[in-house]
């Protein structure tokens, strides 16, 4: 990085953190620390929801995924608008009406303490595992691309996040999220513009789109259905709805966001904003990846984007074949743009497939998807923009992990400490414990970040991890909201049965992970209902 990049990077991160701390300077109560006194405007809540979900993984991995696999990942988000409407109509008013701090607190009001404790524990395990991954995602990439030490990077990011989250609580988290989301959009826009502007003379945006489409990179909708296919129209609409419903309706990191709204309508507007804005935003991110693909048709891409592995391949036969494949693909691309017919489109696709075969041989099928975007940024963006994009990556990692750390601390304090360990203490004591829990989860995130090593596409890893647990969480909340005759024990056993069903399905390896949410949720609801009916029958038969 050049001096200008360092200045822009430091100024951007410094401004975001200081602004968040300034906005949260009056936080002095538990309600202020955990729920921002339920005072935030809808636009802050809306962008905070978006930023918490859009981690660094989103920018690094999603763009790389479009480069390698095309835009079909967008189908993952097709269920999100449906889920947001349902959360807005049913979940948000239930949580706000009950006056709770956490979603799991509601479960005790509806069922019993053991169901609340079980679901809180599932959340702590699941989010506890994911938070390290979220923090590690940018570190591993910056290590390979810029040679930064990954432990130092995660430690630096972790300490900054712990600092502002401990001091300002959710108000600092939400206001830093707001700024980070704006910076993210600017950084991505810059990357997209550069990918188009740096194309050779005479080749424009339309040409770039044609090349990406000819190589199958703009295949946004897949109507063919396969249970094991992760992204198709049906799995996106059904599996995606269940996953988004579980994430936005039952995950404390999101529930806590919309509980901070000034009133129910402000919370609802923030959710409905995300319902409309999320798909276009993901389209924009994936399109950036597809345009990076077209850019590398004319600018020779490295043999592998994992720069640490390039040295070992230098001067080998495969490097020579790679050069030939790159040249052949570029020639086919120029012919296609000149002739614009189906025959040349097929010829370009064949040339691309030949290139891809050499690339896969060179990488030994190891996934270098996560390094594509940052390689492009550091090697081709002008001075200043590199610093901005690195700040975007840091900002995204910080906004997502601060949200997770804050919600983990909230559940630890409200659902564990205050409920089971030390009920009835003073507000100041709980505020102190909330800060302590935040420090603990922050340090835990930094330490567990190292476990994320060796994973393939990080965005898929995060979503798959969520899908192992979300079906169970969603099922118990559906029982709570829509099945008034189901009791606590039935719900408790239902959650255990749902989780068992998900882990069994996962072990078979036959079903795409988006379906885990549907299966888990279905088993919880069915088990809960059947046990309640059986319980009532037994009770009736005992009556004289």
């Amino acid at each position: 990085m050049r001096t200008l990049d360092w200045v822009i990077f430091a100024a951007t991160i410094g401004f975001i953190v200081l602004y968040g701390l300034w906005k949260s300077r009056k936080t002095a109560t538990v309600q202020g620390y955990l729920l921002a006194d339920r005072s935030l405007p809808w636009y802050t809540v809306a962008l905070s929801i978006m930023a918490t979900q859009a981690s660094a993984v989103t920018f690094i991995s999603t763009t790389g995924q479009a480069y390698a696999d095309g835009m079909r990942f967008i189908q993952f988000y097709f269920g999100l608008p449906i889920a947001m409407i349902l959360v807005s109509a049913y979940f948000a008013p239930k949580f706000r009406g009950a006056g709770v701090y956490t979603a799991y607190e509601y479960l005790e009001k509806r069922f019993d303490a053991k169901t609340r404790a079980l679901v809180s524990l599932i959340f702590l395990i699941q989010r506890g595992l994911a938070v390290g991954m979220i923090l590690y995602a940018p570190a591993v990439v910056l290590t390979v691309i810029l040679g930064w030490d990954d432990r130092l990077t995660t430690l630096l990011m972790g300490l900054v996040v712990i600092g502002y989250t401990v001091m300002g609580g959710i108000r600092a988290v939400a206001w830093t999220d707001f700024q980070q989301m704006l910076i993210m959009l600017i950084g991505l826009g810059a990357a997209l513009v550069v990918a188009i502007v740096k194309l050779p003379a005479g080749i424009g945006f339309g040409d770039s789109l044609l090349l990406a489409a000819s190589a199958g990179k703009l295949n946004a909708v897949t109507t063919n259905f396969d249970w094991n296919d992760r992204y198709n129209l049906l799995s996106g609409l059904v599996g995606g709805t269940f996953l988004a419903l579980a994430y936005f309706g039952c995950d404390q990191s999101q529930v806590q966001r919309y509980l901070t709204g000034k009133d129910l309508q402000q919370s609802r507007v923030s959710l409905l904003f995300n319902a409309i804005a999320k798909i276009p935003m993901q389209f924009f991110i994936l399109l950036t990846g597809a345009m990076v693909f077209s850019f590398y048709v004319f600018t020779a891409p490295p043999l592998t984007f994992h720069s640490g592995k390039v040295g070992a391949l230098a001067g080998t036969a495969i490097e020579a074949r790679h050069r030939q494949a790159v040249a052949a693909r570029e020639a086919a691309a120029r012919e296609l743009l000149e002739r614009r017919d189906a025959a040349h489109q097929a010829k370009f696709l064949a040339a691309h497939q030949a290139f891809d075969a050499v690339h896969k041989e060179a990488t030994k099928a190891a996934n270098d998807t996560n390094y594509v975007f940052m390689t492009f940024v550091t090697q081709h963006l002008p001075a200043g923009f590199v610093g901005l994009v690195i700040a975007v990556i840091f900002g995204a990692a910080m906004s997502a992990s601060s949200g997770e750390i804050n919600s983990l601390a909230t559940v630890t304090m409200v659902d564990m400490y205050q409920r089971f360990i030390r009920p009835g203490a003073a507000d100041a004591h709980y505020l102190w414990f909330s800060r302590l829990a935040t420090v603990f989860w922050g340090l835990y995130a930094v330490a567990s970040a190292q476990l994320a090593r060796g994973l393939g596409s990080l965005v898929e890893a995060v979503n798959m991890l969520g899908s192992l647990f979300y079906g169970g969480l969603l099922g118990v909340f559906l029982l709570a909201f829509f099945f008034p005759r189901v009791n606590g024990t039935a719900a408790f056993v239902g959650v255990l049965a749902g989780e068992a069903a998900i882990f069994y399905t996962h072990s078979t390896g036959q079903v795409g992970f988006l379906w885990y949410n549907v299966i888990g949720c279905g088993v919880v609801v069915l088990t809960g209902c059947l046990l309640s009916i059986a319980g009532r029958s037994a009770s009736n038969s005992r009556q004289p």
């Binding site: 608008p81 109509a89 489409a213 000819s214 703009l218 946004a220 609409l237 507007v269 389209f283 040349h344």
Partner: protein
């Protein structure tokens, strides 16, 4: 009026919001399919 019965912030009734999201999704999927198909020579 309980919170659950409150009207949505847009479009007046929840039925209209549900139809709105169905139309929005249909439009998004349709546009994306057209977008992909428009580059098939």
């Amino acid at each position: 009026m309980t919170p659950q019965q409150e009207p949505p912030p847009f479009l007046g009734t929840w039925a209209r919001v549900y139809w709105g999201v169905v139309l929005y999704l249909a439009a998004v999927i349709g546009v994306l399919m057209l977008f992909t198909a428009s580059f098939r020579l």
